[in-house]
Amino acid sequence: MNPWVLAVGLAVVVPLVAVLVLNLGRDPRSVRSPLIGRPAPPFSLTPVGGGAPVSLESLGGRPAVINFWATWCVPCFEEHAALTAAARTFREVQFLGIVYEDEEAATRAFLAERGSSYPSLLDPEGRMAIAYGVFGVPETFFIDGTGRIVEKYVGSLDRGTIATLIARAKGGAP
């Protein structure tokens, strides 16, 4: 038995394994945007299909899930069903879609075909996307009752992740 080998071996192996284990639970798509913890930038946009503009104030202190999407994006297509179902489940949370660099006609056809349970807003000049620092779609922001951004998620969401992040936006455990 060689105590030196043991000491050096453990000195390398234990911290390495510890660091890998600590980082394992992390989801690389849950991005730490500088906006997290800050008040959500204000907006006021018209829904697809017309109607009164929807603004941050009009949420009236409810938590919100704001999902940037487009019809040309495959991951958006994949998460659409999960978001629609979650909006039906979590009635106390306002879901909003923001159409990112897309035609209104294409969006309308997409929603007519696949259905939706929450409004999608048109952002024709991309001002809201710029204010929220959107790189690409899909990106989803979770906003708490005081209007602060709690989480930003990049990529396609599934039901479990939506539930976890909503729980965080509501300030409770999942």
């Binding site: 071996g9 989801d27 690389p28 690409g136």
Partner: protein, 668 residues
């Protein structure tokens, strides 16, 4: 049908591998002829089952059987046949299946080659291989499940990652990488066997070294293919970014290179046995760490596939392998007693030692830089990355020091050198080095490190060539042979030695080319309208037009750039932007004009055919082409070193058969 068949094959492979590992260990502890026979049979069975499982998947991919979950995930009716074939390794689950195939081939080949040799070690070695094989079978049977059944199969699938279809290098890079990674299992098993037996004899270091050399060649090529792919595809003009996953392939390469050298000292002097075993085991552990890095999603990297249950499973295996290795080394390293002493004065022995320490230092430097962001994130919750400055600052001096050792080491004799020997061995190479450095100065090299690299590169090149030719000159003198005859004879007799110098020639060429290309390049970014020109160095570029090109699987917009150098027309280059059907961002393809002295590299930032404008990144990169050539030289040298062992293996099989028959129990 295929899903059930595939899952059955994987389960049987899991049984064969676990059974073989158990029988192998039992045979190692209590050697019997029948135990070794069954270990071998189970090893071959494992290999055959993995081969069949891969065939089943290929069949499913080619027949578009979307009831197989992996095919539903990456298959598509609209892609060419070759894309369907290589889709096997285009995504996570399939690449683990392919991993199993490579492992099966290696395990079967290593078992077959040593079926009647090294009888005290081999059952242990095969047991370790099959234990690793059992883990990957488990990964395929449980968390990865490429053969899961899709209850209502879709009519068509999305097709593999567009990057795979974008460039042929993406198709050939993974097989090389896996052949490198997986192949390290074999020397790992052999080193564990040596520790378990408590002996690393002169006879056993040969198979250890050869089975280390083969995956080392694959890994060398794979690393450079990865860099080449980045250079030809990603469009930022470089070939290496110290991305965690690039580092993941570089780390085991460093320790394997160190082990190849220390194995020579084991073979020649019977020293550094435990150290060599540690390096070989470390190499394997680093390949598993690399696999974890690419498969877990822990590292934010362009290469990471996705998050899945596969990450945690590999981490458990990695942790277990790390701890078991430390325990094994702690308990058994002292049993590998040295048979000689290490010469510490100026000598070739000492150069080997310095080389080894430099490589280990390099390994720890890269490992620390790769893992450090994770440490910070775990401790303070801040995302950060260790940028290129850290890696560049530390790797440049280490690279230069390696050039120095590569020059001085072979110039020194074994055992202690006298000052007279030192002077005569070092004088002429020093002059060559100085000449190369002066040449560099004339060609406008001003960077201090690059000058030093040129000087040491010239020095090492002189030593390498003269050591390579030394036996030739000796034969010409003593046998009176002509140059060609002496050359042929010397190569035949000392092929491993000459091969090593071929590898060195490639390595020092690569280091110098990397140094020159990373310090002597020029670049500019520019926006051009149709008909406008720009110049960089001796080149003048004219943007003629933006064209749309339509192919079945993609739409491209390419810029036609007419190139002249010193007024002489060189034809046109076509950097392009490609839009794939199911990819949201377009993928650019740079256009590179390679010549022996420098590359002209054009990459598009933005292009608008309607208004006729293009935003371009233009680079002139000197000597990049030499990196690819140098790699080919290194790989060739590695293969040359393997050839005599294959010949030797065949010869010794026929020679040892009667001995083995007379004494079936080996040394027990």
């Amino acid at each position: 049908m295929i899903p059930t068949l595939g899952r059955t094959l994987i389960l049987l492979a899991l049984f064969a591998a676990s059974g073989g590992a158990f029988v192998g260990f039992a045979t190692g502890v209590r050697p019997t002829e029948i135990g070794w026979l069954w270990t071998r049979r189970l090893a071959y069975t494992f290999a055959a089952l993995m081969g069949l499982a891969n065939l089943a998947m290929e069949y499913a991919l080619l027949t578009h059987d979307f009831s197989v979950s992996y095919v539903a995930h990456v298959g598509s009716r609209s892609v060419p046949i070759w894309v369907s074939m290589v889709s096997l390794w285009s995504s996570l689950e399939g690449s683990i299946l392919f991993w199993g195939l490579v492992m099966g081939v290696y395990v079967a080949a290593a078992t077959w080659q040593n079926r009647d040799k090294h009888s005290e070690y081999m059952p242990y070695a095969a047991a370790v291989w099959l234990l690793c094989g059992a883990f990957f079978s488990f990964l395929l049977a449980g968390p990865a499940q490429p053969f899961a059944t899709v209850p209502s199969p879709p009519m068509d699938g999305p097709g593999p990652n567009a990057l795979l279809q974008n460039h042929y290098l993406m198709v050939i890079h993974p097989p090389f990488l896996y052949s490198g990674y997986v192949g390290m299992t074999i020397p790992f098993g052999l080193a564990c066997a040596a520790l378990l037996v408590g002996r690393l004899g002169h006879d056993f270091i040969r198979p250890l070294r050869n089975f280390l050399l083969l995956p080392w060649i694959f890994l060398t090529v794979a690393i450079v293919l990865g860099g080449w792919w980045a250079y030809e595809v990603l469009g930022w003009g470089g070939y290496w970014a110290w991305d965690p996953v690039e580092n993941a392939s570089f780390l085991p390469w460093l320790t394997a290179t160190a082990a190849l050298h220390s194995a020579l000292l084991v073979e020649r002097k019977g020293i550094l046995k435990g150290w060599t075993a540690t390096l070989v085991i470390g190499t394997y552990l680093l390949t598993i760490l690399g696999t974890f890095m690419t498969r877990s999603g822990v590292f934010n990297s362009v290469h990471s596939f996705t998050q899945s249950a596969i990450g945690p499973t590999i981490l458990v295996f990695l942790a277990a392998a790390l701890i078991l290795s430390v325990v094994l080394l702690t308990l058994r390293i002292d049993s590998l007693a040295p048979e000689g002493t290490l010469e510490t004065g100026p000598s070739r022995d000492a150069a080997f030692l310095v080389q080894n320490l430099l490589f280990v230092l390099f390994t720890f430097t890269v490992l620390l830089g790769t893992v450090f962001p994770l440490v910070v994130e775990a401790a303070r919750g801040v995302q950060m990355s260790v940028g290129r400055p850290y890696f560049d600052k530390l790797s440049v001096p280490i690279g230069v020091a390696l050039l120095f050792v590569m020059g001085v080491g072979p110039a020194l004799p074994w055992g202690r050198a006298t000052s007279q020997q030192l002077r005569s061995a070092l004088l002429k190479p020093l002059l060559t080095g100085a000449a190369v450095a002066v040449l560099g100065f004339v060609l406008d090299v001003r960077n201090g490190w690059t000058m030093l690299a040129l000087f040491l590169g010239g020095f090492a090149a002189h030593v390498t060539v003269s050591e390579f030719l030394l036996p030739v000159r000796q034969r010409m003198r003593s046998h009176g042979e002509g140059f060609l005859e002496a050359f042929g004879q010397a190569q035949r007799r000392g092929q491993r030695r000459s091969a090593a110098y071929v590898v060195h020639a490639g390595a020092l060429l690569a280091i110098v080319a990397i140094g020159v290309s990373s310090t002597m390049g020029t670049s500019k970014e520019i926006q051009l309208r149709a008909g406008e020109s720009t110049s960089l160095g001796a080149y003048t570029l004219t943007f003629v037009t933006a064209e749309r090109v339509s192919e079945p699987h993609r739409e491209s917009i390419r810029a036609r750039m007419d190139v002249t150098k010193n007024g002489r027309p060189l034809g046109s280059l076509y950097p392009s932007m490609n839009q794939y059907e199911n990819q949201r961002e377009p993928i650019g393809t740079p256009a590179v004009r390679t010549s022996l002295t420098e590359d002209l590299y054009l990459s598009i930032h933005n292009i608008d055919p309607d208004s006729g404008t293009v935003g371009l990144l233009v680079l002139v990169n000197p000597m990049v082409g030499w990196i690819w050539i140098a790699t080919a030289v290194m790989a060739l040298g590695g293969l040359l070193a393997l050839v005599p062992s294959w010949r030797g293996a065949r010869a010794s099989v026929t020679a040892t058969v009667p001995v083995a028959a007379a004494n079936p129990e080996g040394s027990h």
